[in-house]
């Protein structure tokens, strides 16, 4: 391990980063193989992979490193409102870990993702007739909509705060301005 310079901060631990990109890849594979019977086996395997990854993330949200824990970034309505308001002001609030808007996206993706996997499993095992097939498709589309919003948020937040959030999710490191404490 190299010693980090003072203004570089380790934010995302390795399991969180591996989880993030594995989830992104599995979800995209599952989403884009959904329409074809040729890819049905790939769709099912990648969908169950999404389920396994989400189960891990749920656990990691309690035992993971600081910025991976739910307690650290749990978005209360006040925090969310204050953050969103500050974005339009002169001093947009900066969070080292997940900002409250990102946290909402994460929690929604976790919940929606687990429901999507559950309804997909019920469909594939032909439990509950065709009800879950419709539910599954609607949830999957909802997840994709959230992913699009999430990506838009990442781009907007990166520009607003002058930091590269994508790179941080790859390397785990963030640059921290000297005047900023790591309270966020």
């Amino acid at each position: 391990m190299t010693t980090p310079s003072l203004n570089r901060i380790r934010v995302w631990d390795l399991p969180t980063r591996l989880f993030h990109w594995s989830l992104a890849a599995s979800f995209f594979i599952a989403f884009f193989t959904a329409e074809s019977e040729r890819w049905r086996d790939v769709h099912v395997i990648s969908g169950y992979t999404v389920g396994g990854l989400l189960a891990f993330r749920l656990l990691w949200g309690f035992v993971g490193n600081r910025h991976a824990r739910f307690a650290e970034f749990w978005p209360t309505p006040e925090k969310l409102l204050r953050y969103l308001k500050s974005l339009f002001g002169r001093h947009p609030e900066h969070y080292l870990g997940h900002n409250p808007a990102g946290a909402v996206a994460i929690l929604l993706l976790l919940g929606l993702g687990l429901l999507t996997v559950a309804s997909g499993w019920l469909t594939y095992e032909e439990i509950g007739g065709e009800l879950f097939e419709e539910v599954h498709e609607t949830l999957g589309d909802g997840m994709m909509a959230l992913v699009v919003i999430h990506i838009a948020g990442v781009i907007a937040s990166s520009r607003l705060h002058g930091e590269n959030l994508v790179r941080a999710m790859i390397s785990g490191w963030k640059r921290c301005p000297p005047d900023e404490n790591s309270a966020g």
């Binding site: 329409e35 074809s36 019977e37 040729r38 890819w39 049905r40 086996d41 099912v44 032909e126 065709e130």
Partner: protein
Amino acid sequence: MRHSLCILAILVSAGAMAQTPRDFLTRFEKEAAAPAVAERGGRFFDATHGNDWSCSTCHTTRPTQPGRHAKTDKTIAPLAPAANAERFTSPAKVDKWFRRNCNDVVGRECSAQEKADLLAWLLTLK
């Protein structure tokens, strides 16, 4: 009088949601602006269309019997309405599965004529 009008309206709207296979045949023939030819539908069903799969790969050449998914080996309920009363009763399902299956088998969406022919043939199966 009011009540019977209400009941009529409900019956009509319920009828619009749950259709019969004949309704779909009428719709596809209208869209194709030509009558269906059942034998052509049967040939279309059994033939491959530039890919390795035909309709019959999963649905069998006699779709009054259950089929088998070519990838997952799962049982597929019979496609012919004579053997499965649920087939061709929901517009959403009919459109969705024609779109998906035609893309898998033909590599594009099926034309209204192809759908009309196919359904006409399925309706000849008893």
